[in-house]
Amino acid sequence: MEKIIAVDGLKKSFGRLEVLKNVSCDFARGGVVSILGPNASGKTTLIKSILGMVIPDSGNILFKGNSILNTFDYKKHIGYMPQIGHYPDNMKIGQLFKMVMDIREQDAVDTDLLKAYQLESMYQKTMRTLSGGTLQKVSAALAFMFDPDVLILDEPSAGLDPLAAEALKEKILEEKSKGKLVLVTSHILSEADEISDQILYLFEGQIKFYKTLADLKQETGEQKLSRALTKILSTPSC
Protein backbone atom coordinates (compact mmCIF):
# COMPACT_ATOMS: atom_id res chain seq x y z
CA MET A 1 0.00 0.00 0.00
CA GLU A 2 1.03 3.54 -0.65
CA LYS A 3 2.91 5.14 2.19
CA ILE A 4 1.52 8.51 3.05
CA ILE A 5 3.61 9.37 6.09
CA ALA A 6 7.09 8.04 6.71
CA VAL A 7 8.87 8.79 9.97
CA ASP A 8 12.58 8.15 9.86
CA GLY A 9 14.91 8.09 12.85
CA LEU A 10 13.00 10.71 14.79
CA LYS A 11 14.69 12.00 17.94
CA LYS A 12 13.49 14.66 20.29
CA SER A 13 14.42 15.67 23.79
CA PHE A 14 13.00 18.35 26.03
CA GLY A 15 15.94 19.46 28.10
CA ARG A 16 17.54 16.32 29.49
CA LEU A 17 14.44 14.23 28.99
CA GLU A 18 14.58 12.13 25.85
CA VAL A 19 11.01 11.88 24.67
CA LEU A 20 11.52 10.18 21.33
CA LYS A 21 14.52 7.91 20.84
CA ASN A 22 14.98 7.03 17.23
CA VAL A 23 11.43 6.35 16.12
CA SER A 24 10.89 5.08 12.58
CA CYS A 25 7.56 3.98 11.18
CA ASP A 26 5.39 4.21 8.08
CA PHE A 27 1.71 4.90 7.79
CA ALA A 28 -0.28 3.80 4.75
CA ARG A 29 -3.59 4.98 3.33
CA GLY A 30 -6.84 3.36 4.26
CA GLY A 31 -6.35 2.34 7.84
CA VAL A 32 -6.81 3.32 11.43
CA VAL A 33 -3.62 3.26 13.47
CA SER A 34 -3.98 3.47 17.23
CA ILE A 35 -0.97 4.90 18.96
CA LEU A 36 -0.95 3.43 22.44
CA GLY A 37 1.43 3.65 25.33
CA PRO A 38 1.63 4.75 28.94
CA ASN A 39 1.63 8.40 29.92
CA ALA A 40 4.76 10.28 28.85
CA SER A 41 5.70 7.62 26.32
CA GLY A 42 5.94 10.17 23.51
CA LYS A 43 2.58 9.72 21.79
CA THR A 44 1.65 13.37 21.64
CA THR A 45 5.19 14.39 20.76
CA LEU A 46 5.14 12.01 17.80
CA ILE A 47 1.84 13.43 16.61
CA LYS A 48 2.98 16.99 17.12
CA SER A 49 6.18 16.32 15.18
CA ILE A 50 4.11 15.12 12.25
CA LEU A 51 2.06 18.29 12.49
CA GLY A 52 5.18 20.45 12.62
CA MET A 53 4.30 21.75 16.07
CA VAL A 54 7.35 20.15 17.63
CA ILE A 55 10.60 20.50 15.74
CA PRO A 56 12.59 17.24 15.94
CA ASP A 57 16.26 17.26 16.99
CA SER A 58 17.16 14.84 14.25
CA GLY A 59 15.49 12.50 11.83
CA ASN A 60 13.04 13.24 9.08
CA ILE A 61 9.35 13.00 8.37
CA LEU A 62 8.10 12.53 4.83
CA PHE A 63 4.57 13.39 3.82
CA LYS A 64 3.67 11.89 0.44
CA GLY A 65 7.39 11.59 -0.21
CA ASN A 66 8.38 15.16 0.67
CA SER A 67 10.13 16.25 3.82
CA ILE A 68 7.90 18.35 6.04
CA LEU A 69 10.70 20.23 7.79
CA ASN A 70 10.28 23.95 7.26
CA THR A 71 7.18 23.58 5.13
CA PHE A 72 3.52 24.02 5.94
CA ASP A 73 1.59 23.37 2.75
CA TYR A 74 1.14 19.67 3.51
CA LYS A 75 -1.06 20.56 6.48
CA LYS A 76 -3.83 21.20 3.96
CA HIS A 77 -4.17 17.44 3.81
CA ILE A 78 -4.32 16.92 7.56
CA GLY A 79 -7.21 17.34 9.94
CA TYR A 80 -6.12 17.61 13.54
CA MET A 81 -8.19 17.28 16.66
CA PRO A 82 -6.20 18.36 19.74
CA GLN A 83 -6.51 16.87 23.19
CA ILE A 84 -8.04 20.08 24.50
CA GLY A 85 -9.19 22.67 22.02
CA HIS A 86 -8.82 26.34 22.85
CA TYR A 87 -10.13 29.05 20.60
CA PRO A 88 -10.41 32.84 20.90
CA ASP A 89 -12.73 33.55 23.83
CA ASN A 90 -14.89 36.16 22.21
CA MET A 91 -15.42 34.29 18.98
CA LYS A 92 -18.67 32.53 18.14
CA ILE A 93 -18.75 28.97 16.85
CA GLY A 94 -19.94 30.05 13.43
CA GLN A 95 -17.20 32.65 13.20
CA LEU A 96 -14.58 30.09 14.19
CA PHE A 97 -15.62 27.77 11.34
CA LYS A 98 -15.61 30.67 8.90
CA MET A 99 -12.18 31.73 10.11
CA VAL A 100 -10.65 28.30 9.63
CA MET A 101 -12.17 28.08 6.16
CA ASP A 102 -10.68 31.47 5.42
CA ILE A 103 -7.24 30.52 6.73
CA ARG A 104 -7.16 27.17 4.95
CA GLU A 105 -8.68 28.67 1.82
CA GLN A 106 -10.83 25.56 1.62
CA ASP A 107 -14.59 25.15 1.80
CA ALA A 108 -16.37 23.05 4.37
CA VAL A 109 -16.94 19.90 2.37
CA ASP A 110 -17.84 17.46 5.09
CA THR A 111 -20.50 18.65 7.52
CA ASP A 112 -21.60 15.24 8.83
CA LEU A 113 -20.28 15.81 12.32
CA LEU A 114 -21.66 19.35 12.39
CA LYS A 115 -25.06 17.85 11.84
CA ALA A 116 -24.56 14.88 14.16
CA TYR A 117 -23.55 17.18 16.98
CA GLN A 118 -26.16 19.82 16.12
CA LEU A 119 -23.51 22.48 16.19
CA GLU A 120 -25.28 24.57 13.60
CA SER A 121 -27.95 25.53 16.12
CA MET A 122 -25.19 26.78 18.43
CA TYR A 123 -23.44 29.04 15.90
CA GLN A 124 -24.26 32.12 17.95
CA LYS A 125 -22.66 30.84 21.16
CA THR A 126 -19.30 32.31 22.10
CA MET A 127 -16.41 29.96 22.73
CA ARG A 128 -15.98 31.12 26.31
CA THR A 129 -19.41 29.81 27.30
CA LEU A 130 -18.91 26.31 25.89
CA SER A 131 -18.42 23.24 28.04
CA GLY A 132 -15.40 21.00 27.61
CA GLY A 133 -17.43 18.40 25.76
CA THR A 134 -18.88 20.90 23.31
CA LEU A 135 -15.38 22.23 22.64
CA GLN A 136 -14.31 18.68 21.82
CA LYS A 137 -17.25 18.42 19.41
CA VAL A 138 -16.17 21.65 17.75
CA SER A 139 -12.60 20.36 17.43
CA ALA A 140 -13.80 17.07 15.97
CA ALA A 141 -16.07 18.80 13.47
CA LEU A 142 -13.18 21.06 12.44
CA ALA A 143 -10.81 18.12 11.94
CA PHE A 144 -13.16 16.35 9.55
CA MET A 145 -14.56 19.44 7.87
CA PHE A 146 -12.15 19.76 4.96
CA ASP A 147 -12.16 16.13 3.91
CA PRO A 148 -8.41 15.71 4.52
CA ASP A 149 -6.37 12.65 3.50
CA VAL A 150 -5.00 12.20 6.98
CA LEU A 151 -6.82 12.61 10.26
CA ILE A 152 -4.88 12.97 13.47
CA LEU A 153 -6.95 12.66 16.62
CA ASP A 154 -5.36 13.13 20.02
CA GLU A 155 -7.48 11.47 22.72
CA PRO A 156 -10.66 12.10 20.73
CA SER A 157 -13.24 10.60 23.04
CA ALA A 158 -11.98 12.16 26.27
CA GLY A 159 -14.77 14.42 27.47
CA LEU A 160 -17.29 13.41 24.83
CA ASP A 161 -20.61 11.98 25.93
CA PRO A 162 -21.24 8.33 24.90
CA LEU A 163 -23.49 9.23 21.99
CA ALA A 164 -21.04 11.77 20.62
CA ALA A 165 -18.16 9.31 21.02
CA GLU A 166 -20.19 6.73 19.10
CA ALA A 167 -20.88 9.20 16.29
CA LEU A 168 -17.19 9.98 16.13
CA LYS A 169 -16.29 6.29 15.98
CA GLU A 170 -18.69 5.74 13.09
CA LYS A 171 -17.25 8.74 11.32
CA ILE A 172 -13.72 7.39 11.74
CA LEU A 173 -14.72 4.03 10.23
CA GLU A 174 -16.50 5.76 7.38
CA GLU A 175 -13.44 7.84 6.56
CA LYS A 176 -11.26 4.76 6.70
CA SER A 177 -13.45 3.04 4.14
CA LYS A 178 -12.87 6.06 1.88
CA GLY A 179 -9.18 5.23 1.95
CA LYS A 180 -7.98 7.73 4.50
CA LEU A 181 -5.35 7.35 7.14
CA VAL A 182 -6.56 7.94 10.68
CA LEU A 183 -4.04 8.24 13.53
CA VAL A 184 -5.60 8.03 16.97
CA THR A 185 -4.02 8.19 20.39
CA SER A 186 -6.12 6.79 23.14
CA HIS A 187 -6.12 5.28 26.58
CA ILE A 188 -9.43 3.54 26.10
CA LEU A 189 -8.49 0.10 24.84
CA SER A 190 -12.01 -1.12 24.12
CA GLU A 191 -12.38 1.75 21.73
CA ALA A 192 -9.05 1.13 20.05
CA ASP A 193 -10.10 -2.51 19.77
CA GLU A 194 -13.21 -1.57 17.82
CA ILE A 195 -11.76 0.84 15.33
CA SER A 196 -8.10 0.11 14.73
CA ASP A 197 -6.40 -1.94 12.07
CA GLN A 198 -2.94 -1.50 13.48
CA ILE A 199 -1.49 -0.85 16.88
CA LEU A 200 1.63 1.20 17.41
CA TYR A 201 2.83 0.78 20.96
CA LEU A 202 5.25 3.38 22.25
CA PHE A 203 7.20 2.86 25.42
CA GLU A 204 9.69 5.38 26.80
CA GLY A 205 10.15 6.99 23.43
CA GLN A 206 10.69 3.83 21.45
CA ILE A 207 8.39 1.65 19.40
CA LYS A 208 7.75 -1.49 21.39
CA PHE A 209 5.76 -3.02 18.58
CA TYR A 210 3.82 -2.00 15.47
CA LYS A 211 1.50 -4.75 14.34
CA THR A 212 -1.91 -5.29 12.87
CA LEU A 213 -4.60 -5.91 15.41
CA ALA A 214 -5.32 -9.33 13.90
CA ASP A 215 -1.68 -10.41 14.19
CA LEU A 216 -1.53 -9.22 17.74
CA LYS A 217 -4.57 -11.21 18.73
CA GLN A 218 -3.41 -14.27 16.89
CA GLU A 219 0.05 -14.22 18.45
CA THR A 220 -1.31 -13.95 21.94
CA GLY A 221 -4.34 -16.13 21.36
CA GLU A 222 -6.58 -13.54 22.95
CA GLN A 223 -9.83 -12.10 21.70
CA LYS A 224 -9.59 -8.74 23.35
CA LEU A 225 -6.96 -6.08 22.76
CA SER A 226 -6.70 -5.29 26.46
CA ARG A 227 -5.84 -8.87 27.32
CA ALA A 228 -3.55 -9.27 24.35
CA LEU A 229 -1.65 -6.15 25.42
CA THR A 230 -1.32 -7.32 29.00
CA LYS A 231 0.00 -10.63 27.80
CA ILE A 232 2.50 -9.25 25.31
CA LEU A 233 3.78 -6.62 27.72
CA SER A 234 4.22 -9.04 30.58
CA THR A 235 6.33 -11.46 28.55
CA PRO A 236 9.98 -10.56 29.12
CA SER A 237 11.04 -11.42 25.55
CA CYS A 238 9.54 -8.21 24.22
Binding site: M53, Y80, H86, P88
Partner: protein, 255 residues
Protein backbone atom coordinates in the same frame (compact mmCIF):
# COMPACT_ATOMS: atom_id res chain seq x y z
CA UNK B 1 -0.82 37.09 7.86
CA UNK B 2 -3.35 39.89 7.46
CA UNK B 3 -6.16 37.38 7.84
CA UNK B 4 -4.87 36.37 11.25
CA UNK B 5 -4.41 40.01 12.17
CA UNK B 6 -8.00 40.66 11.17
CA UNK B 7 -9.37 37.91 13.41
CA UNK B 8 -7.23 38.98 16.35
CA UNK B 9 -8.41 42.56 16.01
CA UNK B 10 -12.02 41.36 15.90
CA UNK B 11 -11.36 39.33 19.03
CA UNK B 12 -9.60 42.08 20.99
CA UNK B 13 -12.00 44.85 20.05
CA UNK B 14 -14.76 42.90 21.77
CA UNK B 15 -12.80 42.58 24.99
CA UNK B 16 -13.49 44.96 27.83
CA UNK B 17 -9.88 45.49 28.84
CA UNK B 18 -9.06 47.39 25.69
CA UNK B 19 -12.18 49.51 26.08
CA UNK B 20 -11.18 50.32 29.65
CA UNK B 21 -7.69 51.32 28.47
CA UNK B 22 -9.16 53.59 25.80
CA UNK B 23 -11.50 55.23 28.29
CA UNK B 24 -8.69 55.66 30.82
CA UNK B 25 -6.47 57.41 28.29
CA UNK B 26 -9.38 59.51 27.09
CA UNK B 27 -10.28 60.49 30.65
CA UNK B 28 -6.69 61.49 31.42
CA UNK B 29 -6.28 63.59 28.28
CA UNK B 30 -9.65 65.28 28.59
CA UNK B 31 -9.30 66.07 32.29
CA UNK B 32 -5.86 67.54 31.79
CA UNK B 33 -6.92 69.69 28.86
CA UNK B 34 -10.17 70.80 30.48
CA UNK B 35 -8.67 71.71 33.82
CA UNK B 36 -5.76 73.77 32.54
CA UNK B 37 -5.95 76.59 30.09
CA UNK B 38 -2.23 76.35 29.36
CA UNK B 39 -1.94 73.82 26.56
CA UNK B 40 1.83 73.40 26.92
CA UNK B 41 1.50 72.50 30.57
CA UNK B 42 -1.21 70.09 29.61
CA UNK B 43 1.09 68.40 27.11
CA UNK B 44 3.81 68.03 29.74
CA UNK B 45 1.35 66.45 32.15
CA UNK B 46 0.06 64.08 29.50
CA UNK B 47 3.61 63.13 28.56
CA UNK B 48 4.43 62.26 32.16
CA UNK B 49 1.36 60.07 32.52
CA UNK B 50 1.71 58.46 29.12
CA UNK B 51 5.33 57.52 29.61
CA UNK B 52 4.29 55.39 32.56
CA UNK B 53 0.94 53.97 31.46
CA UNK B 54 1.47 53.30 27.77
CA UNK B 55 4.53 51.02 28.09
CA UNK B 56 3.02 49.21 31.08
CA UNK B 57 -0.32 48.47 29.46
CA UNK B 58 1.22 47.64 26.09
CA UNK B 59 3.71 45.12 27.43
CA UNK B 60 1.42 43.51 30.02
CA UNK B 61 -1.64 43.33 27.80
CA UNK B 62 0.26 41.94 24.82
CA UNK B 63 2.00 39.31 26.97
CA UNK B 64 -1.24 38.26 28.65
CA UNK B 65 -3.05 38.07 25.35
CA UNK B 66 -0.24 36.07 23.81
CA UNK B 67 -0.30 33.49 26.59
CA UNK B 68 -4.08 33.30 26.76
CA UNK B 69 -4.10 32.53 23.07
CA UNK B 70 -1.28 29.97 23.32
CA UNK B 71 -3.49 26.99 22.53
CA UNK B 72 -5.08 28.92 19.73
CA UNK B 73 -1.61 29.50 18.33
CA UNK B 74 -1.11 25.75 18.52
CA UNK B 75 -4.24 25.27 16.49
CA UNK B 76 -3.06 27.79 13.93
CA UNK B 77 0.28 26.01 13.62
CA UNK B 78 -1.59 22.81 12.76
CA UNK B 79 -3.20 24.66 9.85
CA UNK B 80 -1.51 25.20 6.49
CA UNK B 81 0.04 28.54 7.30
CA UNK B 82 3.63 29.50 8.02
CA UNK B 83 4.85 30.30 11.51
CA UNK B 84 6.14 33.62 10.27
CA UNK B 85 2.67 34.59 9.11
CA UNK B 86 1.19 33.51 12.44
CA UNK B 87 3.56 35.55 14.60
CA UNK B 88 3.55 38.63 12.39
CA UNK B 89 -0.23 38.37 12.06
CA UNK B 90 -0.51 38.31 15.83
CA UNK B 91 1.82 41.28 16.12
CA UNK B 92 -0.11 43.31 13.58
CA UNK B 93 -3.40 42.34 15.21
CA UNK B 94 -2.44 43.12 18.78
CA UNK B 95 -0.48 46.26 17.99
CA UNK B 96 -3.14 47.79 15.80
CA UNK B 97 -5.76 47.22 18.49
CA UNK B 98 -3.65 48.85 21.20
CA UNK B 99 -2.65 51.63 18.81
CA UNK B 100 -6.31 52.23 18.10
CA UNK B 101 -6.91 52.72 21.80
CA UNK B 102 -3.98 55.15 21.96
CA UNK B 103 -5.19 57.06 18.91
CA UNK B 104 -8.71 57.44 20.30
CA UNK B 105 -7.56 58.11 23.85
CA UNK B 106 -4.65 60.46 23.25
CA UNK B 107 -4.07 61.41 19.63
CA UNK B 108 -7.57 62.72 18.97
CA UNK B 109 -7.79 64.89 22.13
CA UNK B 110 -4.29 66.22 21.50
CA UNK B 111 -5.16 67.01 17.91
CA UNK B 112 -8.29 68.80 19.04
CA UNK B 113 -6.88 70.77 21.97
CA UNK B 114 -3.18 71.18 21.28
CA UNK B 115 -2.42 70.71 17.66
CA UNK B 116 1.19 71.81 17.34
CA UNK B 117 4.61 70.42 16.57
CA UNK B 118 4.87 69.24 20.16
CA UNK B 119 1.46 67.62 19.88
CA UNK B 120 2.48 65.75 16.76
CA UNK B 121 5.74 64.62 18.38
CA UNK B 122 3.74 63.36 21.33
CA UNK B 123 1.43 61.37 19.06
CA UNK B 124 4.20 59.85 16.98
CA UNK B 125 6.45 58.94 19.90
CA UNK B 126 3.52 57.55 21.83
CA UNK B 127 2.64 55.28 18.92
CA UNK B 128 6.23 54.15 18.51
CA UNK B 129 6.51 53.57 22.24
CA UNK B 130 3.41 51.36 22.10
CA UNK B 131 4.87 49.38 19.21
CA UNK B 132 8.27 48.88 20.82
CA UNK B 133 6.77 47.60 24.06
CA UNK B 134 4.46 45.21 22.25
CA UNK B 135 7.49 43.99 20.38
CA UNK B 136 9.29 43.45 23.71
CA UNK B 137 6.20 41.63 24.95
CA UNK B 138 6.47 39.24 22.01
CA UNK B 139 10.08 38.61 22.87
CA UNK B 140 9.30 37.79 26.50
CA UNK B 141 6.35 35.61 25.44
CA UNK B 142 8.40 33.56 23.01
CA UNK B 143 11.35 33.17 25.38
CA UNK B 144 9.29 31.79 28.24
CA UNK B 145 6.86 28.89 28.17
CA UNK B 146 5.12 29.72 31.40
CA UNK B 147 2.53 32.47 31.64
CA UNK B 148 3.54 33.62 35.12
CA UNK B 149 7.19 33.80 34.12
CA UNK B 150 6.34 35.61 30.91
CA UNK B 151 4.26 38.28 32.61
CA UNK B 152 6.86 38.58 35.36
CA UNK B 153 9.58 39.15 32.81
CA UNK B 154 7.39 41.69 31.01
CA UNK B 155 6.84 43.60 34.26
CA UNK B 156 10.56 43.47 35.03
CA UNK B 157 11.36 44.91 31.63
CA UNK B 158 8.89 47.72 32.19
CA UNK B 159 10.31 48.36 35.66
CA UNK B 160 13.82 48.37 34.24
CA UNK B 161 13.09 50.82 31.45
CA UNK B 162 10.88 53.09 33.58
CA UNK B 163 12.83 53.25 36.80
CA UNK B 164 16.00 51.18 37.12
CA UNK B 165 17.54 52.43 33.90
CA UNK B 166 17.37 56.05 35.02
CA UNK B 167 18.85 55.06 38.36
CA UNK B 168 21.73 53.34 36.62
CA UNK B 169 22.31 56.35 34.40
CA UNK B 170 22.40 58.61 37.46
CA UNK B 171 24.83 56.28 39.17
CA UNK B 172 26.98 56.24 36.07
CA UNK B 173 26.92 60.04 35.90
CA UNK B 174 27.97 60.43 39.52
CA UNK B 175 30.76 57.89 39.21
CA UNK B 176 32.21 59.45 36.10
CA UNK B 177 31.34 63.03 36.90
CA UNK B 178 34.90 64.14 36.15
CA UNK B 179 34.73 63.10 32.54
CA UNK B 180 32.89 64.73 29.65
CA UNK B 181 29.85 62.49 29.31
CA UNK B 182 27.59 64.47 27.04
CA UNK B 183 28.04 62.31 23.97
CA UNK B 184 27.90 59.14 26.03
CA UNK B 185 24.57 60.34 27.39
CA UNK B 186 23.11 60.50 23.91
CA UNK B 187 24.13 56.90 23.31
CA UNK B 188 22.75 55.87 26.69
CA UNK B 189 19.45 57.53 25.88
CA UNK B 190 19.15 55.50 22.74
CA UNK B 191 19.26 52.35 24.87
CA UNK B 192 15.90 53.12 26.41
CA UNK B 193 12.78 53.63 24.29
CA UNK B 194 11.01 55.50 27.09
CA UNK B 195 13.86 58.01 27.42
CA UNK B 196 13.92 58.47 23.69
CA UNK B 197 10.25 59.36 23.68
CA UNK B 198 10.59 61.59 26.73
CA UNK B 199 13.49 63.60 25.39
CA UNK B 200 11.96 63.94 21.98
CA UNK B 201 8.76 65.38 23.43
CA UNK B 202 10.34 67.57 26.12
CA UNK B 203 12.78 69.12 23.68
CA UNK B 204 9.89 70.36 21.61
CA UNK B 205 8.93 72.40 24.65
CA UNK B 206 11.03 75.24 25.95
CA UNK B 207 11.64 73.70 29.35
CA UNK B 208 14.80 72.00 28.07
CA UNK B 209 16.54 75.22 29.01
CA UNK B 210 16.18 74.08 32.59
CA UNK B 211 18.19 70.94 31.98
CA UNK B 212 21.61 72.57 32.23
CA UNK B 213 24.60 71.88 30.04
CA UNK B 214 23.57 68.35 29.07
CA UNK B 215 20.16 69.74 28.25
CA UNK B 216 21.75 72.24 25.93
CA UNK B 217 23.68 69.47 24.21
CA UNK B 218 20.51 67.41 24.01
CA UNK B 219 18.76 70.40 22.52
CA UNK B 220 21.56 70.77 20.00
CA UNK B 221 21.45 67.11 19.02
CA UNK B 222 17.89 65.89 19.54
CA UNK B 223 16.42 69.27 18.64
CA UNK B 224 18.10 69.20 15.25
CA UNK B 225 16.68 67.49 12.20
CA UNK B 226 19.25 64.71 12.34
CA UNK B 227 18.59 64.18 16.04
CA UNK B 228 14.86 63.80 15.50
CA UNK B 229 15.40 61.37 12.67
CA UNK B 230 17.93 59.51 14.81
CA UNK B 231 15.61 59.11 17.75
CA UNK B 232 12.67 58.10 15.57
CA UNK B 233 14.90 55.54 13.88
CA UNK B 234 16.09 54.25 17.24
CA UNK B 235 12.48 53.83 18.33
CA UNK B 236 11.84 51.86 15.15
CA UNK B 237 14.89 49.73 15.93
CA UNK B 238 13.36 49.08 19.36
CA UNK B 239 10.27 47.80 17.57
CA UNK B 240 11.94 45.73 14.91
CA UNK B 241 14.84 44.07 16.74
CA UNK B 242 12.87 42.38 19.55
CA UNK B 243 10.26 41.30 17.00
CA UNK B 244 12.90 39.75 14.76
CA UNK B 245 14.38 37.86 17.71
CA UNK B 246 10.91 36.72 18.69
CA UNK B 247 10.32 35.49 15.15
CA UNK B 248 13.59 33.61 15.15
CA UNK B 249 12.74 31.90 18.43
CA UNK B 250 9.14 31.19 17.45
CA UNK B 251 10.19 29.45 14.24
CA UNK B 252 12.10 26.87 16.26
CA UNK B 253 9.77 26.69 19.22
CA UNK B 254 8.00 23.51 20.27
CA UNK B 255 4.35 24.04 20.96
Amino acid sequence: MLKIAKYIILDIVRSKVLLAYTLLLLAISLTIFMSDADVTKGLVSITTVILIIVPLVSIVYATTYYFNAAEFTEMLVSQPISRRAILLGKFIGISSSILLAFIIGVCIPVALFAFSLTGITLMVSGCLLTLSFISLAFLTSTITRDKAKGIGLALMLWFYFSIIFDGLVLLFLTLFADYPLEKVMIVLTALNPIDLARILILLQLDISALMGYTGALYQQFFGSGIGIVFSLLMQLVWTLVPLLFALKIFKKKDL
